[in-house]
Amino acid sequence: MGENRIYSKVGEALAKGEFVLTGELEPEKTCDLSHTIQEAKEMAPYVHAANVTDSPLAIVTINSLAASHIIQEATGIETVWQLTVRDCNKIGLAGMIMGAEALGINNVLSLCGDHTALGDCPECKPVFDLDSATLIQLVREMVDKGSINGKEIEHPPKMHVGGAANPNADPMEAEILKIGRKAEAGCEFIQTQVVYDIERTIEFLEGIKKYKVPVFLGIFPMKSYGIAKGFDMFVPGVDVPKEILARWKSVKTDISDKAQQKEAYDQLNYEFFKPFISELKSKNLLAGVHCMAVHYTRIFPKLVDVIKA
């Protein structure tokens, strides 16, 4: 990310070598974004940007581009617009990318998207005309060359494009080599799936180091024992370690005062993530952290402390 192509705060931070913190906003099936805007306001002082999800689990929500724009306008927070290849072909995607530029969106995260079969319109036609790597290629052509399929765009978009990676993937090598393809496509930053296993995370990050793409580690501080348990049970491929679950459980069972419980959960998150992030930072494996704990904005001041380690 050279200085001559900085289009956003995230791009600027990366160019300067600042450690990046991004949050996540998950607009729901509603046309009123006031709750999401409130969360954005709460995290804004602490993050470089916030991701805005694109119908996760293929459950229809308000369009992520519209939401990104509205959130930016209402709060001043910078967004990382999540865009999946599930719902639009290349024509639709390219049109939205130009629309994003016109709406002031300057970061996009290229995602495949959960399959339509998983969502609340399972009967609909999945698109997947491009994939997450070739969408990165499309963005880079539009931004760097100012064209689509070699055809000139009058006022091309200016934005940074990132991709996702899953350090929990098994077989891991299949995932590592896939990140090589994303890097070749022009991926400018990686945001990972949530991790809890430090050994595995180190192995994965060491594996993709050669591709020289800055990595924001995906973390999910757990607001309560219920959330931790649900996350462990319902997020495929991510296991919350048993000893962590036990620690969270003990807060629930041992502390009855709600305010004290909150403090205890926050402290547990701090104690777990601080050494975790610190070790990865000391190995030069991270360019930032991506916190996916939606509806848990009170953790951000502590997270800022965590990543300073």
Binding site: K90, P126, S132, E173, A174
Partner: protein, 221 residues
């Protein structure tokens, strides 16, 4: 290779042919016979069920391959008299069979409607009778030379050119509750076995769908 068919629910078939009284059954002796949706047995079963419902069966034929216009021209000549007295044809074959019959009869019997009693599932690989698997979608631009003989268009639920996606968990696919293999992990394992991970690391361009917007044909004479 077999075109795999399954039986439509009988009530659905009845709904389709309800305006007719006299039915001719054309039951394919090839793929549909193998899938036990057509052939002699399938035709006999269907004829009996229709007769029970009060339909008159004017004729039953089991051509060698209903999808072959040449076969059908010959076979229809033999039953032309019966066709004069037929309200509708019920076909027990794949969709190609219906197309073939419509095309073969369009001059002589353009007013006879042609119905189908099966659903055409896919071009299938036969493991044994009763175990058929889709391994090729016939997309017209074969990638198998680069993917260790495993087709990503077919084996990946998203037909991705650069998989696996984030929906892969321990080699299984998010579609179907993690019971089916992830096609891209199969490709990775196969290419690794062959010592050709260089092919796996290749960034592939999107599929070219420009030739798929209309009915494809292969005409060389």
């Amino acid at each position: 290779m077999t075109i795999i068919t399954t039986k439509k629910p009988f009530e659905e078939v009845l709904g389709a042919i309800k305006e007719a009284k006299k039915i001719a059954i054309v039951s394919c002796g090839s793929c549909a016979a193998m899938c036990q949706t057509g052939g002699t047995e399938g035709a006999k079963e269907m004829a009996e069920k229709l007769e029970e419902k009060g339909f008159e069966i004017t004729t039953v034929i089991v051509p060698e391959e209903v999808c072959d216009n040449r076969v059908m021209m010959k076979d229809f000549r033999k039953i032309d008299e019966d066709l004069q007295n037929t309200d509708a044809i019920l076909t027990l074959s794949c969709g190609l069979g219906v197309a073939s019959i419509v095309q073969t009869l369009e001059k002589k019997h353009p007013k006879i409607p042609v119905f189908i009693g099966t659903n055409t599932e896919f071009m299938g690989m036969t493991e044994r009778i009763g175990r058929f698997y889709m391994r090729c979608r016939g997309c017209g631009d074969c990638l198998l030379n680069e993917t260790g003989g495993i087709c990503p268009i077919t084996s990946c639920a998203k037909s991705l050119m650069n998989g696996p996606c984030g929906g892969m968990v321990k080699g299984k696919c998010e579609v179907g509750n993690y019971e089916e293999d992830c096609g891209w992990v199969l490709i990775y394992n196969r290419l690794k076995e062959l010592g050709r991970l260089d092919l796996y690391t290749k960034l592939r361009p999107p599929r070219d769908w420009s030739e798929s917007g209309h009915q494809r044909k292969v005409v060389w004479r």
